[in-house]
Amino acid sequence: MNTDSLEDTDPRPSGTPDFEWEYEGRIVVLDNGARLPIMPAFDRLMALNAFAVVVLDPASILHGNKNIKELPEFQVFGHATLGNGDDAVLYACMDPLESATLEPVIPDDLPERTRLRRKVIAELPVSTLRLDAIEGLDYLDWLLLDDRNDILSALEHGTHALTHTSLVDIRIPFRDAYAGQSRFLQAIPWMQAHSFTFHGFANTGHKSLLPEGKFFAKNKATRWEWADAIFLPDATRLAGMDRACATKLACVADLAYGMHDLAAELLGRFDPEAAARYLDARGYISPYFKEADTFTLTAAQAPAPWKDLQVDDPLSRAEGEPA
């Protein structure tokens, strides 16, 4: 019973104005492990028709997904993953969603159902691509890395591309699900050494320890399985970022992660008015600042909850008369 806290992070407040994102070109996304299509915000993001997406799908879990194939500027490469350019092995599991190029680990305490899902039924050759060797990627606005494939290898062979990358989202595991998974304490120094700074965790996946196969009135899942660590260019790189890149980064921060403060800060660097309009659209501008400086209570605003009230008027008593 896993609970992934992948919430739709942008419940738009009613009655607020829309905000139009304005930038030239498309937001270029590289998704290693086919994480993007299962994000709650996916449909909303794709509806903007503003992204150019490359998905490396080593386990081919998107194979046969007609909806995705019809999306413009959306390319899926099956049987491929980021890495050092050599061939690798795909451990194909009973449940394709558990398949990985890192070997599944099956600890003794794993529930039977999960054990079955993670059972390897075939070892298949799979290509790895060096990020720096992918043609046509002049810049990358958003890089997503999953936890089923070798993250550090992907990063090590993409140092050049990363100098032009605005946001890196690394799924960090907290359990030994696959051999050789990169941990948070490995990712942080690597990213810092390559001019990125850790911004925060976005989504988290939890495991419930309630007995499986039973029905409960409510769920509770407290054990962290993974978290998506968001890395941004460090202060020096951010300061040198041009308006188009900053706006695209703001757009991803807003639409994919609901990081409204970050988005407003990035917009405000080039256009404070746009930042103000954005905050208004996201419900951050208090109605206090939009109304007149005086307020008179009227029946239209606060009607009494009764009809035909028959009471004395105490205010008609003469001034000074004891109450």
């Binding site: 008179t296 605003q301 009607p303 909850p305 009471v311 105490p314 004891p322």
Partner: protein, 410 residues
């Protein structure tokens, strides 16, 4: 809503009066000493030991239950009182205490049988009528409630109460409470709520430049239709709504960290007359039964709190205070807004219930001056009320006698 005091040693705790076992008595005595010493948690442990030693003693269960209720341990207190009543279902004090506890948590069906039984056994006990009156009041059965409050007062006329020096808290004007006020007003303003400092809170700020030290809660006013929005904002900012409120207006919230209560009162405009009203309103009763005060038009202006945050405030706070208090510049320690507000609409059934209940409670606690002040305010609205005239005469004599004694002692 006033909290009427529980009977003080005048009603039988048990119908048979068995003494606790000596070992239990020792724990009980220690528990009572700890309560007096301001160590309620240590007292709880002693009470628990006492009932462990003598689990079938009604007096122990009753006292333990009362102690737990005083510590806001409603469920545990009720549990002990239920055991006391099971042990002796003719003991009036546990019946009343448990009935009162059920009433406080809106368990009216559970309270009914207990309180009616207590009245049947001790129909001449003023406290039984007071508690039954409160039980009816909370359900909006105001004519019957008022009748029982009157019976309680009539029976009280035969009861000599000693004058006592009222204990008043003097620490409400702490800086952190005032900071909480400004922060809360600003949070509400930014959330789109037109809330303003009102009643005692406004009086303190305007007259004293600070909260009144003897006040017991923060008071805010706002448009009645913004109550729900205000409630959501308060809950999101560390307040919890006080459970079991029986009135739809005002609503009370407790700050979970500072343990300060805020009363949020809705103001509404009558569509026919155009007049503005607030008060204490119960759903499902005739509007005229409620306690209502009438106001001139409420005008607010934007302002900045002493902490620099945006707030709403009354455009004419002095005029607002004059409407409510009359001469607001002169402190009157006996003034009770619920009964004596200058802009009260008549003396409705609910106001009468509050007035009668408060006269009784203050008299019973020995705060004779305040009891007398409440009686005299009530007589301004009901000048020919025979019961109130008798009470006024009696209290007046007692206050005079008490003053004379104090002068002699000095």
């Amino acid at each position: 809503m006033s909290k009427h005091r529980a009977p003080r040693g005048k009603l039988a705790v048990t119908s048979t009066k068995p003494q606790p076992l000596p070992a239990a008595r020792k724990h009980l005595k220690e528990a009572e000493r700890l309560v007096a010493a301001g160590q309620p948690q240590a007292a709880t442990a002693q009470f628990q030991r006492a009932v462990n030693v003598d689990p079938t003693n009604v007096d122990l269960r009753y006292k333990f239950g009362k102690h737990l209720l005083a510590q806001h341990e409603q469920e545990l207190g009720i549990l002990q009182l239920e055991r006391a009543v099971r042990l002796d279902d003719r003991a009036v004090a546990p019946l009343l205490e448990l009935g009162q506890a059920y009433t406080a948590t809106n368990r009216f069906a559970d309270a009914k049988g207990l309180l009616e039984k207590a009245l049947e056994i001790a129909g001449k006990a003023s406290q039984a009528h007071l508690i039954y009156g409160t039980f009816l009041h909370k359900q909006g059965k105001l004519p019957d409630a008022a009748a029982h409050f009157r019976t309680a007062l009539a029976l009280m006329l035969d009861h000599p109460a000693e004058a006592a020096v009222p204990k008043r808290r003097q620490d409400f004007d702490k800086p952190e409470v005032e900071r909480l006020l400004w922060t809360t007003l600003s949070q509400l303003a930014l959330a789109g709520v037109h809330a303003f400092a009102a009643f005692g809170t406004l009086l303190g700020i305007v007259r004293e430049g600070a909260l009144l030290p003897f006040d017991k809660d923060l008071d805010l006013g706002l448009p009645h239709n913004e109550l729900d929005l205000a409630a959501r904002c308060l809950v999101a900012n560390g307040w919890g709504e006080v459970p079991h409120g029986f009135a739809v207006n005002p609503r009370s919230f407790l700050h979970l960290k500072l343990q300060v209560t805020i009363d949020v009162t809705g103001f509404a405009v009558d569509q026919q007359s155009g007049a503005t009203y607030e008060g204490i309103w119960i759903e499902g009763i005739p509007a005229e039964w409620n306690r209502l005060t009438r106001w001139d038009t409420i005008d607010l202006v934007k302002a900045t709190s002493p902490e620099g945050s945006p707030i709403w405030t009354l455009a004419d706070p002095e005029g607002w205070l004059r409407t409510l208090y009359g001469d607001w510049r002169t402190p009157d320690p006996d003034f009770d807004t619920i009964i004596a507000a200058r802009n009260l609409c008549g003396f409705s059934l609910m106001t009468q219930c509050y007035a009668l209940g408060r006269i009784y409670a203050r008299w019973e606690s020995g705060n004779l001056r305040k009891a007398l002040a409440a009686t005299r305010h009530s007589l301004r609205h009901l000048p020919d009320d025979e019961l109130l005239l008798k009470v006024e005469q009696r209290l007046s004599g007692m206050v005079t006698e008490s003053s004379r004694r104090q002068v002699s002692a000095a």
